[in-house]
Structures are given as structure tokens and as C-alpha cells.
Subunit: 124 residues, 2 copies
DNA sequence: TATTGTTATACTCTATAACTATA
DNA sequence: TATAGTTATAGAGTATAACAATA
């Protein structure tokens, strides 16, 4: 199980770095297809809000996301990918082939079985 | 699959922090039950040797590992856990219950099946 | 000349504390 | 008074480059 998780993590990081961002940045990028508040994002990722600020600062500097004041609550900012960000993230996703590679070695029955077991194990 | 890996990673980090070290430190600690060279360790973890130096410096400062000049090759250092390190790592391992918790929700048949599928997926 | 490990340095991730603006 | 987000700061992980000692 350790080896499996380790292989997944390494593949994720390799794919991110191949596109010029880090694993943490890819994680944020993947969650802002639709505009999101930063607080919401911090809660979802289980990290401090100040951390999101830093991650977003770097992504914004590279033109991959943009922030705007929320129309509903002027304290909040809505975060969203730019067209460049959409493109970069799509390429990243394509190159992150772990799930595909890993299930390629399994029969269709086994793939289904694995998904079922992982889901049941997590209790979700 | 992402959720599963994420849950594993978080559990690993929580367990490590509960014992006062980080995930990376736990990882090193787990690999030096028997004396190991630092180069060997860097290759195994897929990171730079200078990184190992830093990690070991912190572990050594806390008395969890010790270094000595290798008798075979005086350029090398052999790294090994101290008795304190053994104790700390054993406690960490006990508290890292992810694999146990996760498989507790599965029947014995399913547990076996999951192990088999993960192994086959990795091609090992 | 090649290899082991260290040091200096720099970047990123992350958290805590203090702050601003808004509610 | 409480909440969203920022800034300053600090510790940890990581890599690159330059270096020392040894092979």
C-alpha cells in the first residue's frame, strides 16, 4: 500500500513539474475551474488561508489564475483559472497518466473491483 | 484513487507529527534500522544527497539517529537509529493505523483481493 | 579523476500572529 | 465582534553549485 501511494505521489509531482508548477499548485489549479472563494479552498485543502494566498500569488504571477472581488461579499475574492490556466491544467491532466497506466495492467473486471474496494475501504 | 492516496498521505503526516517529526523524517527513520550509507539512502528516496544531510542533521540533533565513519570506505558515513530512535519509530508505526483502519471495513477475502490488485497494478 | 558527504544558498510549502477591510 | 484575505516571519523540504576528503 505504501509503494502504491508512493508511486502515485511521485507520478503526480513529476507531471506537475513537467508543466512548470508544483504539486500544491496543480492541486489549487484543479479546483478553480469555476470561480471559488479562497476561504472555501483553504477549508477544502485543509490548510491555512495564508498558504492559499502564497500559492495563488505564484499562480497569478504566471498568469494561470486571476482574482476578483466577490460581488456578494466585498471581503471575499473569487479565484478562477485564466484561459492560459485552463490550457496548462488540461495538459497536466493529460500527462498525469498514473490511474490509466496502473489500471492498464488490470482486466476490466479487476479495474471495477479495485475501484469498489478503494471506495469501500474509505467508507464513502 | 486520488481520495485514497490523499487520505493515506494525511494519515501518515498526522502520525509523524504526533511524534514530533515530519513525514520526510519518519521516512528516513524507517530505513535506518540497520546501518545504511547516506548515498544509498538518497538513491532509495530519489532525492539529492544534500537533502539527506539536512534531514539527518535534524534527526541527529534530537538524538534519534547517529552517524559514524564507515569502516570500509572512510568517505562514507553509516547511519543508524539510536535506542531512542528505535522507540520513537516503533511508537510512530503503531499509531499509523491507516492500513489497519482501512482494511478493517473489508472482509478478509476483500483485503486479500485489494492487496493482490494493488500489487498487480504496480506490476510487481 | 570520480565519489561521498557537507556547506552555502535559494525557492517552495506551510503555519502562526498581527493586520485591514468588510460584515 | 466575527470573518475574508494579506503580510511578515519562521521552520522544514528540496535542489544546485562549490567544496573537502578519500578512493
Amino acid at each position: 500500500m505504501f509503494d502504491f501511494v508512493d508511486a502515485y505521489d511521485r507520478a503526480y509531482e513529476r507531471a506537475a513539474e513537467a508543466h512548470g508548477f508544483t504539486a500544491a499548485q496543480a492541486c489549487v489549479l484543479g479546483r478553480v475551474q469555476a470561480p471559488r472563494g479562497m476561504r472555501e479552498l483553504a477549508d477544502e485543502l485543509g490548510c491555512d488561508a495564508s498558504n492559499i494566498t502564497q500559492l495563488v500569488r505564484r499562480l497569478e504571477a504566471r498568469g494561470l489564475v486571476e482574482r476578483e472581488i466577490s460581488p456578494d461579499d466585498r471581503r471575499g475574492r473569487l479565484l478562477r483559472r485564466t484561459p492560459d490556466g485552463d490550457r496548462a491544467y488540461a495538459e497536466f491532466e493529460t500527462s498525469f497518466e498514473f490511474a490509466r497506466d496502473v489500471t492498464a495492467g488490470l482486466d476490466p473486471d479487476e479495474q471495477e473491483q479495485l475501484t469498489r474496494l478503494l471506495r469501500k475501504a474509505l467508507g464513502s
